[in-house]
Symmetry: C2
Subunit: 344 residues, 2 copies
């Protein structure tokens, strides 16, 4: 790869260079990059806004994260929050701080991933910053989306007897990370070793190139199903269902046997001598959607391959419990401090 | 000051703690911090969005920047971009990454400044992140605002014969920084020395606690004056007028004698043996508004103490020139690479 120093480009030249392939796709983009601020038209709907800051060494490790995947993921984790409001993402801003060790080509890779995500999710990049840092890579993404007033879904709307549903399968992203960490250690011990990634393709993709579930929001709309509460699973199922229960002032019963797990997730968990369900409950980064639906929608949703019904909402005084496969009862607890505190 | 480690607070406890004094003031804030995303009502106007990333050692120096002032300034520089669209800021998100050397009390100071800015400018904090960094403090702020479709002002609307106007005075923030740097060096040479700040209060405030010109946007509205083009002065007058001229496909003539300078700015420039006008042209961080108005508005604006008319727009082929006090002509040039590249 050629190495071009960042200083080759002038003050505004670098941004022009990095964003030249981005062209607005949404009619709601009135003014994109190039003025003091972008101008957006959300006049027929509510505006949804969310932001995430990704820090090298805390949220990602460049040893095994390709920059293109990182750019893609940085966008996706924000879009996932927009979908979790039952909204459609339309616009993002991206600010990046890089150390002087970064080359123009490395930034191009990062922006190629950002562009790929913008194209796949039909969102427009409308602003941002590029700056230097003394150490490490920082990526701050803000996503905006739109939703009709009557369709917005919060965390606080779950009702007693609601079905608790989840899209896709859980725990894979966490185990993908364990494989990457294992191979990093092996490489550090012996730089001549070939990484052992065969048979782990699905969980590696879950970790390195997750997708936000725009198809789920679309499917719910086409089935005419509006969830009472919804959240995206970034911190693990336990933590997320507890957010819904706390904010909705209810309790929950989750059935271990109903939690969706991919075969590769189960096999890899066994390889690491972990319970697969623990990865689903506490692993995080799956970016699936967790939502509750009135019981009356049972017929409409059962058997839909996109969703699993994993439990139901109970009165608050009945607590938050997991019913294990052995039919014992375990209290659901949130994960502790993990160096990453989100407002959202 | 007491020192409480960040880890004392749980994953979501720190955010709750830092944001407990922030309460929404705008009816357009439908849902603030606490869900996957904030929900905002911009249904009767266009949405304006801008973002800035501030990096320790690049954009600020904690040796002489009080954290409360830094929090205030991080908000203000974004609001300034919103006002430069002739819009009213309504909402911000703030993401912060801090090294483990930071205490809860230090973050409280930073957020106290953010709160002060929110109160002064009547904006609501509606989301964000707090994360750790391996080294240094990073603050990413995104500001959203609203403007009626017919009132938005871009950089690209300047017309031949327009008056070029600027609010307040220029060059002070740059000289304030020179005083702070001078005293930092003096302190490094002799830690027992008392800093010599007397007589520099105005320019120090311009650097450490700048304000965004919401009063200017209000005054223009009350005078029924809509600028043809507007930009905020973050990088120095030269660079900003060239943005307007380039995007509007016109040229400009600026008169040195008309550029507004405070007495303290002039005296301090002389102390450092710099031309005062150089500080105005290239210094930056003044956060005044630069705008162009049709010549027909001359009677309405002349003599208004809030504004100075500093020149006029000319055809593009006449170039971009400064007429000096000695009546010579100098081509206006933008500053070079300054390690800080903004999309906006």
């Amino acid at each position: 790869m050629a190495i071009t120093q960042l200083s080759k480009y002038g003050e505004f030249g670098l941004i022009k260079h990095l964003t030249k392939s981005f062209s607005p796709k949404n009619s709601s983009t009135i003014k994109s990059i190039g003025d003091d601020a972008a101008v957006l038209n959300y006049q027929n709907s509510l505006t949804v806004v969310t932001t995430d800051l990704l820090v090298e060494g805390v949220h990602f490790d460049l040893t095994y994260t390709p920059l293109k995947h990182l750019g893609y993921k940085a966008v996706v984790v924000n879009l996932s929050d927009v979908y979790a409001m039952n909204a459609i993402p339309k616009h993002i801003t991206v600010s990046v701080a890089v150390s002087s060790l970064f080359s123009v080509e490395m930034l191009e890779e990062l922006y190629a991933g950002i562009l790929r995500a913008c194209e796949h999710y039909n969102v427009d990049l409308v602003g941002g910053d590029t700056s230097t840092s003394r150490k490490g890579l920082f990526i701050s993404v803000t996503a905006l989306g739109e939703v009709e007033k009557e369709n917005v879904v919060y965390r606080n709307g779950a009702k007693e007897n609601d079905l608790i549903c989840v899209s896709g399968d859980l725990g894979g992203a966490y185990l993908g990370l364990q494989i990457l960490e294992r191979e990093k250690k092996a490489f550090e011990n012996n730089p001549n070793i070939q990484p052992r990634f065969q048979g782990f393709d699905y969980i590696l993709e879950r970790q390195l190139k997750p997708e936000a579930r725009k198809d789920v929001v679309k499917e719910l709309k086409s089935l005419n199903l509006k969830p009472n509460a919804m959240i995206d699973i970034s911190d693990g199922l336990s933590s997320e269902i507890l957010h819904i229960c706390e904010q909705s002032n209810v309790g929950c019963k989750i059935y271990e046997e109903k939690i969706p797990l991919d075969t590769q997730t189960i096999n890899t968990a066994e390889l690491f001598d972990i319970q697969p369900v623990t990865c689903a409950l506490n692993g995080g980064e799956d970016y699936e959607l967790l939502f509750t639906l009135p019981l009356s929608f049972y017929e409409k949703i059962k058997g839909n391959p996109m969703f699993s019904i994993i439990g139901h909402i109970v009165p608050k005084n009945e607590g938050n419990y997991l019913i294990t496969q052995q039919n014992s009862v375990a209290e659901l607890k949130a994960q502790g401090w993990n160096a990453y505190i989100s407002h959202q």
